[in-house]
Amino acid sequence: MTRSEFLDEFRRILEMEHLDESDDLGEGGLDSVVVLSLLALIDEGFGISVPAQALAESKTPAEVIALIEHSGGQVG
């Protein structure tokens, strides 16, 4: 899955019209429903799993992408 494909799906999960890598995902972290959807997306798109807690605490989409790459995912 490419970076832009991932961001498109991320945007869809968050039900937002616009989402850039540096956008703030909010103080409270990602809620459990969003985390589940992202875990499924990452599993499907990259064939890997990432630490759920670290994912939930991500501050920006860039941090999520870094987590994917750190976990062995190839973000094209």
């Binding site: 972290g29 589940l36 499924a40 599993d43 799993s49 990432v50 630490p51 939930a56």
Partner: protein, 339 residues
């Protein structure tokens, strides 16, 4: 000819009170009933009354099973009661159920504390009892009232869990075929903290401090007396463990995936099940997903699913099914069952 354990009948029971998505949405204020259904696949869940225990649900399920005529109380010589919400620390709740059901006093009766993998573990215990000649008719009751552990202000769990019980009769029949088994088990206590009621046991008895509610992630509130579930970690565990578990069971049973007539996974929530099914390329027409009317009933999800599938004619006697339980502990177990 050998004596082999077989599932002879299954009955289930739900408490009266229904908690719908509409009621949850009205209570929470900023929720949408349709969104809850879309995200979880659950439209309503049954909730035990304040004075209704898991044992009450279990007794009701067992009485329904007896009423179906295949077996009476006097025929049962071993009772297995799977629950994580017993009536008391002691005595064993199965002993109380023995008396209430009128099972004979020569009947063995034990509780075992297991959650989402509990039905498969129970089948392993029942098979062992029957095929060693230790018992002839094992009554396996799974029953749970997780609702009593949930904080009303914890959205992460209130949409998911429902209360219910199932009673399954496992008896010996003369045949050379293995009708229940083989089994694959798994345990990883490193994940214990991901699904837990921290206080109330001997490690941390309930007291004023454990009753204090605190705001946690995403605006959810809970105390240490309440159930906590890290849904993300549980989902991650599922993705990592379950595909391999299925492959391991197929190898152990000498079966190809295509020879399994139906798959009954623990009905945790529809989102997780659909993803697992897609990931494992299992055919939708042979994979049960139905949490809409009862939610996640923990150790009873698999027997309820099997019972419903039989009633609807989705599966038929003689078909080969795979049962896969996974969750709290972390614990997992899978087996093949010829219906």
């Amino acid at each position: 000819m050998t004596i082999r354990a077989a599932i002879r009948d299954i009955a289930s029971h739900f408490p009266e009170q229904r908690l719908t998505n509409e009621a949850l949405a009205a209570e929470m204020g900023d929720w949408d009933a349709e969104k809850i259904l879309a995200k979880t696949g659950i439209a309503e869940r049954r909730i035990a009354a304040p004075d209704e225990c898991a044992s009450d649900l279990g007794v009701a399920a067992a009485r329904k099973l007896f009423d179906r005529g295949g077996c009476g109380p006097k025929d049962v010589d071993f009772l297995l009661f799977c629950t994580q919400s017993p009536d008391y620390f002691l005595p064993t709740t199965a002993c109380l159920i023995q008396e209430r059901l009128g099972l004979p006093t020569h009947c063995g009766a034990i509780d075992f504390n297991q959650g989402c993998s509990g039905f498969v573990y129970g089948l392993a215990l029942a098979k062992s009892l029957v095929e060693t000649g230790t018992a002839r008719n094992v009554l396996l009751i799974t029953a749970e009232t997780y609702s009593k552990f949930l904080n009303p202000k914890d959205r992460s769990v209130r949409t998911i869990f429902g209360d219910a019980a199932a009673a399954t009769l496992i008896s010996g029949i003369e045949t050379d075929r293995e009708l229940i088994g083989p089994f694959v088990f798994g345990t990883d206590g490193r994940g214990a903290e991901h699904l837990i009621v921290p206080a109330g046991g001997m490690r941390k008895p309930r007291q004023a401090e454990t009753r204090l509610e605190r705001e946690a992630e995403s605006g959810n509130w809970r105390s240490e007396d309440n159930l906590y579930m890290n849904g993300g970690e549980i989902f991650s565990f599922t993705l990592q463990v379950i595909p391999g578990l299925v492959d391991e069971l197929l190898a152990k049973s000498g079966r190809a995936r295509e020879s399994v007539d139906y798959f009954f996974f623990h009905q945790a929530n529809a989102f997780m099940l659909k993803h697992l099914r897609t990931k494992m390329k299992l055919p939708a027409e042979r994979f049960w997903i139905d949490v809409e009317s009862c939610g996640n009933t923990v150790s009873s999800t698999i027997p309820i699913a099997m019972s419903e599938a039989l009633a609807r004619g989705v599966v038929h006697p003689g078909e080969h099914t795979m049962l896969v339980g996974f969750g709290v502990g972390l614990s997992w177990a899978a087996t093949m069952v010829e219906i």
